[in-house]
């Protein structure tokens, strides 16, 4: 009795659109019958195995929704408490950069869906190059994010008590928030703060976003962001944690999709078996959906 029966035909050769015949590597199972090699013995059919794997992925994605959900709830609660803080702080986010990143992620969702189509139609080239495109678009997203973050760091926009106020002190150095009166500084306070601000700060406000390598820190001057609300650190804590964990998901997705591309180059995926491509694709779409909500909440409203 041989464990390995013959490969009936190369999967690439056959017609993808009407491939009802399974031309797969067959092995003889414990029941003495031939089964596709990738089919686990506890599943009746490859179809059932695929569906089960996909349902498992969806359940994982639900936990992802709940992970980000906790942070969205934090956002909602703090926004309800301090509406003026959110209106003021969100002006520091670059709408066009955020919009660009939204389009980049949407495009990467398309390329992932297209890669799956490539696998379904046994088109290895379409599969491979769409996966590569997806990684490239994800990389673009991270590069834009890098520029957004470093620009904020130059302005002293750090999360929580590390946020640098216009007078050069961090929120932590201001003392307990409640000791600062009035909580939202009035016109005259802002004028007073502007006088105390380092002179470099005024240049930075004037010449916009010219972060040069010579004296990037001085050119912008920490605190030259015009935000005077001592609760600004709260908004940026939420911003950095939410976009940071989302960015981490993008990085993880880049690694996963790179592995898929490498595996697809070795001919591992075809219309007979492409479960990993499908599942990583689902993950990638959820990363996109999270950003679809993060973008308006942070940048627009």
């Amino acid at each position: 009795m041989t464990d390995h029966a013959a490969t009936v035909e190369e999967p690439d050769v056959r017609d993808g659109a009407h491939g009802h015949e399974h031309h797969d590597v067959m092995v003889r199972g414990y029941d003495g019958k031939l089964h596709p090699a990738h089919l686990q013995h506890f599943f009746a059919t490859p179809q059932q195995q695929f569906e089960a794997s996909k349902l498992g992925m969806w359940l994982f994605l639900v936990t992802e929704i709940l992970l980000f959900g906790g942070m969205f709830v934090a956002y909602a609660i703090y926004r309800a408490w301090y509406p003026e803080l959110f209106a003021e702080s969100s002006t520091q986010l670059d709408t066009l950069m955020g919009a660009l990143n939204t389009l980049v992620l949407l495009a990467s969702s398309l390329t992932v869906a297209w890669a799956i189509r490539g696998a379904q139609t046994d088109n290895q080239k379409v599969l491979f190059w769409n996966l590569i495109m997806t990684v490239a678009l994800a990389g673009t997203f991270m590069v834009v994010k890098y520029f957004e973050y470093t620009h904020k760091f130059d302005l002293g926009i750090f999360p929580g008590q590390h946020f640098v106020m216009p007078d050069g002190r961090t929120i932590g150095e201001l003392g307990p928030l409640a000791d600062i009166e009035p909580l939202v500084l009035q016109e005259e306070d802002m004028a007073a703060l502007a006088q105390h601000a380092p002179p470099a700060a005024e240049h930075a406000v004037a010449d916009g976003s010219d972060a040069s390598e010579e004296h990037a820190g001085e050119a912008h001057g920490p605190g030259a962001h015009g935000l005077t609300n001592p609760r600004s650190g709260i908004f940026f804590s939420i911003y950095y944690v939410m976009t940071g964990i989302h960015g981490l998901h993008v990085l993880i997705g880049m690694v996963a999709i790179s592995i898929l591309a490498w595996q697809s180059k070795r001919g591992k995926y075809s219309s007979v078996y492409y479960t990993p491509v499908e599942n990583v694709g689902l993950y990638w779409h959820v990363v996109d959906i999270i950003w679809i909500f993060l973008f308006p909440l942070m940048y627009l409203i």
């Binding site: 179809q47 969806w58 709940l66 949407l106 689902l282």
Partner: protein, 159 residues
Amino acid sequence: MSSHDDHNHEGGHHINDPSILIRTILVLVVLTVLTVGLALAERSGMLPLGGLSVPVALAIAGAKATLVAMFFMGLKYEGGTNALAFVAGIVFLAVFLAFTYLDTGFRDVFESGAAVPVDVQNAGQAELEARQQELNEVVAPPFVTSPDTLLLPNAPISP
């Protein structure tokens, strides 16, 4: 959505249709441009949406997410199991948000003073304690039984 003859390829896998993928991404891009346009118009004062701006932006985001889930993730083409899991997750998120808000949003209604943020509360408490401390430290002046002879040398000495 006519070209779904190949629906049951490979025992039920739906094959992504290029024309539907393209149409989906086009609608997604249009919705993105729309929501950015609305936000910029509102910011410049051209289009005061007021209280509508948040619901409108969220509705557009919800529409975009639905499109991604239906056509890119293929929920439209499968049985309801995966969709049920996904929707259940969103429902539980809504429960999470609603019940948290029932606490944080109505603290001033049910418990006066408790809606004050913790740091303000602590500062108020500290101030109260400081005042109490001050009051405790005040020593009552002694009763005057006889005139001070240093200040009033000519005062008659009491018998």
